[in-house]
């Protein structure tokens, strides 16, 4: 009964669009997105993140200012455009969030379990990772994506990530590729980026993290992967897991050459 009412609304919408609209649904949605961009609540997370970065915390009462994100201790500007990367001190490839866990444990003395207690925020229960990532990534805005595959482990991560991208599984037989390997497709009314082509990978990767208006939260790339797999009907992707780093390496590398443009705002 209620659904019928909703359907009727959509029906009316369709009729109105067909007859009287001066502009297409696509043009109206573009207008909607433009209006959103005029003020991005991600800024609220960026401000919190910068304060968190500088705040002395944890058993060692230290800030994260000595954290090496790949360009030297404390160098934040442009660092995200080169992540994920191999870190010799950990002898592995890390994405931003994984590196932050590393710094929180080594510099601030947090136990991993404590540092990762809340990886995705909900309302006033905020995630430090989302705040930190908002600020750190904002310091790469405009910087050209440049993820290297110089180290063997970086190349391996890319290669594994590619395999995972095409991995079909679960009750729905979905892979990342099911929705993201053809150009010009959409799900419902949402355009789907083709992540197997440069333009699509660049557009998608450079616009995360993003403030999701549907959730009223700032979400990072770790969240993006987690929620894609949820909708793929997979089990839950572990935060900062090796698979998440491999997939991120695959997608970030494919975005090389594009100017980083996040935190963004999305539906």
């Amino acid at each position: 009964m209620i659904r019928r009412k909703m359907a009727a609304t959509v029906l009316a919408a369709g009729a109105a669009l067909g007859v009287s609209a001066q502009s297409s649904p696509e043009a109206e949605i573009a207008k909607y997105r433009e209006a959103l961009a005029a003020g991005n609540p991600a800024e609220l997370w960026e401000a919190r993140g910068e304060a968190l970065w500088k705040q002395k915390r944890g058993p060692k009462n230290a800030s994260l200012e000595a954290c090496d994100l790949g360009k030297g201790a404390g160098a934040v500007k442009g660092s995200y455009a080169e992540l994920p990367r191999y870190f010799a001190d950990a002898n592995r490839v890390m994405d931003l969030e994984t590196r932050l866990v590393h710094c929180m444990t080594t510099l601030q003395g947090f136990r991993v379990a404590d540092a990762t207690k809340r990886v995705f925020g909900a309302g006033t229960n905020r995630s430090d990772f989302e705040s930190l990532a908002a600020w750190i990534t904002s310091e790469s805005k405009g910087v050209t994506m440049n993820v290297a595959l110089d180290h063997a482990k970086e190349r391996e991560a890319y290669q594994l990530g590619e395999k995972m991208f095409y991995f079909r599984g679960g009750p729905h037989d979905f892979a990342c590729a099911t929705c993201h390997s053809e150009s010009g497709k959409r799900i419902r009314l949402q355009d789907l980026p083709n992540l197997t082509e440069k333009a699509g990978a660049q557009l998608a990767y450079t616009t995360w993290p993003a403030y999701r208006v549907s959730q009223g939260e700032l979400r990072t790339f770790q969240w993006r992967l987690n929620d894609c797999f949820r909708q793929q009907r997979f089990p839950e992707l572990k935060f900062a897991s090796e698979a998440s780093i491999a997939l991120t390496t695959f997608l970030a590398r494919n975005a090389n050459g594009a100017a980083f443009d996040a935190p963004a705002i999305k539906r």
Partner: protein, 207 residues
């Protein structure tokens, strides 16, 4: 068109370089990727780790769509999947299109965030145009508007349509479409209702 091919080629080249340097062959890489995935997921709700265990079709279809399957392999997938289809014992393949429309609109079911007690939807509109009234439809699959009007409701069409919903890969190996009956996403009645949505002359799909 040309630039697209070009971009794809460059892309493939990058991938090849990446693959070449890491010193694993393709099969080893697939094996390692699966191991890494198994260590990287947690069971949550109804989504257990066994969802990472691929069946034959899933294994063979884990590839870029541009990479075509050998004809005999594709035929093998289709044959095995065709054999899995179970038609209703009562012989009736068309249910209630009104219920079918509801099922086609609903995207819930089988996610770790879903209550397994609530019946799953088929989420047809996510990928297909069906009725003209619903403007929010996807384009991953072909438009099914006027599906029944164009094909009629002969026994053969009913069997094909129900079968396609039950197991899409019986007819197209590596189809993007979920195998709703084969994988237990929809019940028999739900598949009948979706078949009716597609075929019933009274359905909004055929107006």
């Amino acid at each position: 068109m040309k630039t697209r091919t070009c971009a794809t080629a460059v892309f493939a080249a990058i991938a090849a370089i990446a693959a070449g340097c890491a010193g694993m062959n393709d099969q080893e890489t697939s094996q390692k990727a699966l191991e890494v995935m198994k260590a990287s997921f947690n069971e949550r709700g109804q989504a257990k780790l066994d969802r990472l265990n691929q069946d034959e079709a899933q294994k063979l279809c884990s590839k870029p769509p541009s990479q075509e399957l050998a004809k005999d392999i594709a035929a093998g997938i289709e044959k095995a999947n065709l054999a899995s289809i179970r038609y209703p014992a009562d012989g009736r393949l068309m249910g209630d299109w009104r219920q079918g429309e509801r099922i086609a609109q609903s995207g819930i079911g089988k996610q770790f965030s879903d209550d397994p007690k609530i019946p799953a939807g088929a989420n047809c509109y996510a990928c297909h145009q069906l009725s003209k009234a619903e403007i929010s439809y996807g384009t991953i699959g072909p438009s099914l508007y006027n599906y029944g009007k164009l094909r009629g409701t002969s026994d053969a069409i009913q069997r094909y349509t129900y079968g396609k919903v039950y197991n899409s890969q019986a007819f197209t190996a590596c189809s993007n479409m979920p195998r709703f009956g084969h994988n237990g996403i929809l019940t028999e009645q739900q598949m009948k209702d979706v078949t009716a949505l597609l075929l019933d002359p009274g359905s909004p799909v055929n107006q």
